[in-house]
Symmetry: C2
Subunit: 461 residues, 2 copies
C-alpha cells in the first residue's frame, strides 16, 4: 500500500481554503484532481501526478478525487470512492477517504457519483490542461466550451505566488536534492559516454532518493537546441555538456537547475570566455533580485552584461543600451531569465503563464526574446524564482537573423562565424526573494568556472 | 534532433496496410497517432509513446500524426504539420513529413487542418484509450458517442496476433534486454536496500541501453499484492523480492519478465518449497504450449500442478481435478497464466482484451481466477505469449474465502495459517509459438531455484 503523507498541518490546508473562499467571495469553486494517464492502453499508465492546485488546497496525493469549496457557506466537500474488496486483493489495503479527509480538515466526504448533484449554482473552475478534465467539465456542466473563472485564477495565483516558510522548507529539500543530482552527473560523466547514459546517472540518483524528476531533463552536447530531449549522441573530449534537470519530492515541490560543463577536464578557450560572460550575467541577476524590482528589469540588465561581454569578444558592437533596446542580444539569449517555481517547475503555468508572471502594472513585450520572459512582474518577498541566463550559438537563428539583415549595427556576423559551432551554455539556480534580497534554495553547487573545472578534473583523474 | 528510425522495410508497411484494407473491404480506416500527454501543465509532458497500431501500419514514431486508409481506392493519406522556423530554433532541425512518408510508402501527405475534409463517407475507427482521441473523434465526426468498428478491430487483431519473423527479431532484442535488466537487479540487490533503490538499478540499466520500461515495474517485498507499484519498504534478510518488469526498445516492442528471489543468499525452507511448485507449474506450461492447444487448457493444467504441489505441502487436499474445476486453486493463483505480447506489453489490450485472447470457439469464464485469464484461445504458430505462473499468500483473500466458507473441501485453512505471511512468488518468461512447440525469446535468464540462489550467493559474497 502506498502511504499517503501530508507535508503540512491540517490547519494549514484549512487556512489556505478559507483565504481562497474569502478572496473569491461567492459561488462554488470546483477543484479537479488528476486521474491516471494511459500510455498505450487504459491500464498501462504513466507515473501518477496530482494536480498542483489540488495538492495545495486539498493535499491528498491520490487519483480520482474532486472537491467543491462553497464560498457562500464555507463548506468544503470531497468526492471519491473507497477501494472495493476486489481492488484490495490486487492493490493491497487502501486508506479510507474519510480518514484522509480528516487529515486535511474535510469532514464532508461523498462518493464520486454524488458530485454531479452538487454542481448547481455558480460553478467556478480552472483551465483544463488534461483532456480528461475537459471531458469531465463538459459532461458534468453540460457545456460545449470551457470558461475558466478569471477571478478564481487570480486569487489562486496571488496566494500561491507567495511561498510560506513551510513551503520554502519543502523547496529547500527539493533544491538540495537537485543540486546533489547535478553533482552526481558532473562527477560521473566521462568522455565517450552516450548522452542517455548520463540520463541514466540522473535517473538512478532520483530513484535512489525515492524522488521523481520535476520535468524530462535536457541533457545534451547540443545545448544550443533549447528544448532538446534527444539523448542519442556520444559526448567527446572538447564537447560541452548542458544539463537542465530538477528533482520533485514526494510533496510535489520542485527544483530546477542547469549546469554546463566540459566533457573533458577543461573548457576550451572559446567555451571559457563565453562561460565567464554567462557567469557575470548570473551575478548581475543575483545582485539585483530583491523586493520591488521588476524582474523584466533584471532580465534587461542581464542582457546588457551579456552585450558588454560579447562586445569584448568582438561578436557584438555598438552602444550596449541601444543593442539591448533593439533586442540584438536575443540572437544569443532568446529565452527569459527565469520563472516562478513551486509545486510546478513553471509554477502555475496551467493557470496561464501571463497571469503568473505579469500583472496590470506591466505588459508582456512582443519583441523576440523578451516575449519568452515568463516572469516580468515586480518581485516580492516570498517569491521563488529561477535565475537562468544562457548564451547559445544557434546556427539556424544566426542564419535567419543574418539573411533578414537584423541587428547589423550590433552584431559582427563575420566574427560570429568563429563561434557558430560552440553550442550553448546556461547556469541556473533557484532563489527565494527575502526581505532585502534573495537566498539560494537548498545546498548550493558551485557554478563558477574554476569550480566546474575542478570537479571535472577530479572526475577524470 | 531526434532521429526517426524504422525497424521494417518500406514494403513491409505497404503490405501490412494492403492486407488490412483487403480484409476490411470497404470504407475509410482512420488511424489516430498519439499526442504528448501533459503532467501538471500543458508543456510539461510524459515520455512520448506512439500508438501501437499506428506504429504497426504507419511506422512513424512522431506525435500529432493521423492517417486514413481508403479501402475502396487503396489510397493511404498521412496528416501532420512540418516544423516552423520558430520551432526549429527551439527544437533543432526536424525531419520533413514528406520524407518520413516516403520511408513507409506514403506519398499523400497533407497538413493537419485538411484531415476533417477527408472524413466523409464510412469512417471506421478503433476504441479510444486516450482522452484526446475521444475529444478529437467527437469533434471531427460530430458525434456524441464513439462506435468503434468491430470488423476493423478483428482484422487488426488477426493480423497483429501472428508475429512475423522481423517482428520476432525485435522481440528477441527486447527480451534479451529485459533478461539483462533482471540479472542486473538480481546481482546488485542487497539486504537493507530500499525497494526504490532496486527500481533505481532497473532504471539505470534501461537508460544505459537507451531503452524505456514497457510498463511501470512491480518491484516489491510484498509480491502477494499483485498490482503493487509502491517501493517504500526496506528489503531485509529473509524477505522475498518479486520483480516484474520489462524493456521496451525504440521500435516499440516489449519484453515482460518476472523473477522472485531471496533478499539474502537463500530461500527459506517454506519459500523454497513454494518456489519449487511455481517452477514445476512453469515446466507444465512449457511442455504443453504449442499450436492447436487452447491456452485455457494450459492454464488449467498449470493449476493442477499447483494443486498437487500444495497438497504435498498439506495446504490443499482432496481430488486435484475437482479442486481445479471448483476454482479452489484461485485462492493462491488468482490471475491468468499469460497474455499476448508485442508492441504492447498486453498486446492490443486497447482493442479489447476479450477480442485478443478469445474467439468464437471459446468463451471467457466468469469464475474467480479464470476470469482474469487474458488469453484463452487456441495457440498458433507466431503467437508471442507470456508464461507466468505464481503462488501468492494474500491475507485479505484468505480471510475472505475462509469467512465465506469457500473451498473447504480443498483448502486446509488451519495448515494454511503457517504460510499466511510468506508473500508471493512468480516466474515469468516470454515465448513464441513455433511450428511444433515454443521458443524462449531472447537470451534467457535462469529461473530454477538453484540458479537463483547461486546468483544471490555471488551477489552477496
Amino acid at each position: 500500500m502506498a502511504a499517503v503523507t501530508f507535508p503540512f498541518s491540517t490547519d494549514t490546508y484549512i487556512e489556505r481554503r478559507n483565504a481562497l473562499m474569502k478572496n473569491v467571495g461567492s459561488g462554488k469553486i470546483l477543484l479537479l484532481g488528476n486521474q491516471d494517464a494511459s500510455i498505450n492502453f487504459r491500464d498501462n499508465v504513466y507515473h501518477f501526478r496530482q494536480d498542483s492546485t489540488f495538492l495545495y488546497y486539498i493535499g491528498i496525493n491520490l487519483m480520482d478525487l474532486n472537491a467543491i469549496l462553497d464560498c457562500d457557506t464555507g463548506e468544503v466537500s470531497l468526492f471519491g470512492d473507497d477501494a472495493s474488496i476486489d481492488l484490495i486483493v490486487w492493490m493491497g489495503n487502501q486508506p479510507q477517504l474519510r480518514d484522509l479527509g480528516a487529515k486535511v480538515g474535510i469532514t464532508n466526504v461523498y462518493e464520486s457519483k454524488e458530485l454531479k448533484n452538487h454542481l448547481t449554482g455558480d460553478i467556478k473552475y480552472l483551465p483544463a490542461y488534461r483532456d480528461k478534465h475537459e471531458l469531465n467539465l463538459k459532461a458534468w456542466l453540460d457545456i460545449q466550451e470551457l470558461k475558466p473563472d478569471m477571478e478564481l485564477i487570480h486569487s489562486i495565483i496571488s496566494q500561491r505566488n507567495i511561498k510560506t516558510s513551510d513551503e520554502i522548507a519543502q523547496l529547500d529539500i527539493a533544491c538540495t536534492l537537485s543540486a546533489q543530482m547535478h553533482e552526481f552527473v558532473l562527477r560521473n560523466a566521462k568522455p565517450y559516454m552516450m548522452e542517455y547514459q548520463l540520463v541514466g546517472l540522473a535517473s538512478a540518483f532520483a530513484w535512489n532518493h525515492n524522488a521523481q524528476w520535476s520535468f524530462p531533463p535536457i541533457l545534451t552536447k547540443n545545448g544550443q537546441t533549447l528544448h532538446n530531449h534527444y539523448h542519442g549522441h556520444q559526448i567527446n573530449e572538447g564537447d560541452l555538456v548542458l544539463y537542465d534537470g530538477g528533482i520533485e519530492i514526494e510533496s510535489g515541490y520542485c527544483g530546477d537547475m542547469t549546469r554546463s560543463f566540459p566533457a573533458g577536464k577543461k573548457f576550451s578557450t572559446m567555451q571559457a570566455s563565453v562561460y565567464q560572460i554567462v557567469h557575470d550575467s548570473y551575478q548581475t541577476a543575483l545582485s539585483m533580485s530583491k523586493p520591488g524590482v521588476y524582474y523584466k528589469d533584471v532580465h534587461l540588465a542581464v542582457a546588457k552584461t551579456m552585450v558588454e561581454g560579447l562586445k569584448a569578444l568582438g561578436v557584438m558592437k555598438g552602444d550596449s543600451d541601444e543593442a539591448v533596446a533593439s533586442g540584438a542580444h536575443s540572437l544569443f539569449f532568446p529565452h527569459g531569465l527565469g520563472h516562478m517555481l513551486g509545486l510546478d517547475v513553471h509554477d502555475m503555468e496551467n493557470l496561464g503563464e501571463i497571469h503568473v508572471g505579469y500583472d496590470s502594472s506591466i505588459e508582456k513585450s512582443t519583441q523576440f526574446g523578451l516575449r519568452s520572459l515568463r516572469l516580468g512582474r515586480q518581485l516580492k518577498q516570498g517569491y521563488v524564482i529561477t535565475i537562468e541566463p544562457g548564451i547559445y550559438m544557434i546556427p539556424e537563428l544566426i542564419d535567419k537573423f543574418k539573411s533578414e539583415g537584423l541587428h547589423t549595427d550590433f552584431v559582427d556576423y563575420q566574427e560570429l562565424e568563429k563561434y557558430r559551432n560552440m553550442g550553448g551554455i546556461r547556469i541556473e539556480d533557484d532563489y527565494v526573494i527575502t526581505e532585502n534580497g534573495n537566498r539560494r534554495l537548498g545546498e548550493s553547487l558551485a557554478n563558477d568556472l574554476a569550480s566546474i573545472e575542478e570537479m571535472r578534473a577530479v572526475a577524470l583523474s
